[in-house]
Amino acid sequence: MSESENKSYLDMDLLRFTTAGSVDDGKSTLIGRLLYDTKAIFQDQLEAIELSSRQRGDEHTNLALLTDGLRAEREQGITIDVAYRYFATPKRKFIIADTPGHIQYTRNMVTGASTADLAIILIDARKGVIEQTCRHSFIASLLQIQHVVVCVNKMDLVGYDQKTFDTIVENYKDFASRLDIPHIDFVPISALNGDNVVEKSSNMDWYKGGPLLYTLENVYINHNYNHIDARFPVQWVIRPQSRDYHDYRGYSGRVCGGAFKKGDEVMILPSGFKSKIKSVHTYEGEVEEAFSPMSVSMTLEDEIDISRGMMIAKPNNHPKAEQDIEAMVCWFSEQSPLQLRKKYTLLHTTNEVKCMVQEVRYKVDINTLHKIEADKELRLNDIGRIRLRASAPVLFDSYRRNRLTGSFILVDDMTNNTVAAGMII
């Protein structure tokens, strides 16, 4: 064993989380605080924002300036897009998808949530559970984020009052019972003063839980990866054409579910041919077992015509292969609403097919969770349930079962833009 095998960073794991809150909830301040207190902010960055804060006439060093990178954002004091931030403790590396919380930015929240294992939802202690809290929680639930941490912020402005906190917790639990979020934690904080963010606050002795960072460091992460249903979308076929590897055909890709090992019987879809795995390997050599989200290559015992977009699964457990799909979608296009019967390109795993939306069944009012059946036009930031028909069978699982084989995007062929994100029911 080399010396480096003992290094602690070789045991660190990764947690991706998203933060949702509005301009005034102190979300950027909270992130600034996490970065600052875990020393992910450097002296030159701090000096730069201290200078900007003074020039803007801010009272405190405005930690929000750390996350608002683009010129327009600094000028308007808003966050216009998803920004990714990084920090690490000896236990974990963290990736934050920082998304703005205004109603018009549902699109960004959905984007940030799509890769998150956990969501932080900020509530202003003075305002309690409001419409946008519901909106953020609904999106976390829709995107199947398994763990939500509700941070009741600005506790300093309510005198660190326990009753205020307890009431908010009750109200939130009441509302969240209509959602599908298995784990919810509550932390009373003051991002501005650093109470219960990294260090436990001495201002709230009544709170027995750990500070936010403690939760982030210790929460169990299952990464939403499915380790049951073996799914391997073929991404690229490696054919070296060299003397040493004359007949080599390696199917490369990232495991999207379950596990694959040498000798496993597999079924290739959509053709339905069966074969056996001859080897599973990476650059380092053969691996005993490949699981999600490993990037590997496989060789098979039989010569079968397999190309990008096809899927390797197991004969007794394979995805559905259907042309008619029911899904929840969030509409992303600023230019045009969803048009029925128009052709879009559907991107799903490594596959691409044309499709048409046959019907919008209903829209969701994301503030009240009510179904809207009267107005069925899906415009920017709208969420609704649709039925679409693809030009060829799509190999999918339900999004609830598998986030990677249950998700898709729609591309408008006129503009090449991504116009919708979909979760298959």
Binding site: F42, G69, R85, V110
Partner: protein, 301 residues
């Protein structure tokens, strides 16, 4: 802990390999931007891994300002020979000779900004439709909003307000005629991750990254290597110091830091204790608060 568990480095590696394979699959003619710096060295290793046992199915493209450290070029040529890759070199000097760009003058003259034109010309000449780069989101505030697949219009420019949302692991590389993509597989890596990965993989890196004796001048707090490309001012003094470089760019704008770090593990310790960002040593970022954003809009890396 479940047996189906990956460390953060293996996670990042798997993600980067996935993105690199997507590029090979979705584009007709990609290229990997190679500078000889640590990020592009990591990128090259990941590309090898993505297509093993085949070769990397696209060329490496080096935009050579002519102001490189000689150590960088030597390293580049050895690496290319060793892995059997194709190398294309685009020279900023050619762009100057052709009158495409005008050399900056003055004490802080640098060819950093000129690279953009040379790069875009190379993209056009070779009809590259995707350029893989080693830029990371943690480097700079404008880069924090970059996508993995960053769309560039027919002028090679970046429009921060018109980038495609990226969800799950689905990347939309659809594009119009004359447009191209910059693709950043290391988006989610930090400087620390890169060093840890270099240690994990036991990657060879140019010796500029390790502590060595060098003649430097202190200009506005940055220790620049004394060389023919910078003009030493009368009030400046050449000093001999024990230094290393945290990033490697042009000799004209890459500052050294005083350091005793002589191994990768030393560097990891040093990075962990560092109080300045690595780009804190880069004079090109200090020109204004939004220097990076402005250059990216023009088509910079």
């Amino acid at each position: 802990m479940s047996k189906y568990h990956l460390t953060h480095l293996k996670h990042l590696e798997s993600e980067a390999i996935y993105v690199i394979r997507e590029v090979a699959a979705q584009f007709q003619k990609p290229a990997l931007l190679f500078s000889g710096g640590k990020d592009s060295i990591v990128m090259t290793r990941l590309a090898q891994k993505a297509f093993h046992p085949g070769r990397i199915p696209f060329p490496l493209l080096h935009v050579d300002t002519g102001h490189n450290f000689p150590e960088t070029l030597e390293y580049r040529d050895n690496l290319v020979r060793e892995i059997g890759a194709t190398l294309i070199v685009a020279l900023v000097q050619d762009s100057i000779d052709k009158g495409r760009v005008v050399e900056e003058t003055g004490i802080n003259a640098s060819r950093n900004a000129l690279q953009t034109t040379t790069l875009l010309d190379a993209v056009e000449e070779h009809q590259f439709d995707a350029a893989l780069g080693g830029a990371r989101r943690d480097e700079e505030k404008a880069r924090a909003k970059e996508r993995f697949f960053s769309h560039r219009n027919e002028f090679g420019q970046w429009d921060p307000k018109n980038q495609r949302p990226e969800l799950w692991n689905i990347f939309n590389g659809h594009k119009g005629f004359g447009e191209h993509f910059r693709v950043f597989p290391l988006s989610n890596w930090t400087e620390m991750d890169v060093w840890q990965y270099i240690a994990l993989e036991n990657l060879e890196i140019p010796n500029l990254y390790f502590s060595h004796q060098r003649e430097v001048v202190n200009r506005n707090g940055a220790l620049l290597a004394a060389c023919d490309y910078i003009s030493i001012q009368p009030d400046e003094e050449i000093q001999k110091k024990k230094v290393r470089f945290r990033t490697i760019g042009d000799m004209t704008c890459t500052g050294a830091v005083e350091s005793e770090a002589s191994s990768i593990e030393d560097i990891i310790q040093e990075v962990a204790a560092a109080r300045l960002t690595e780009r804190g040593t880069r004079a090109d970022d200090k020109r204004s608060e939004t220097a990076m954003e402005d250059r990216k809009k023009q088509g910079y890396f």
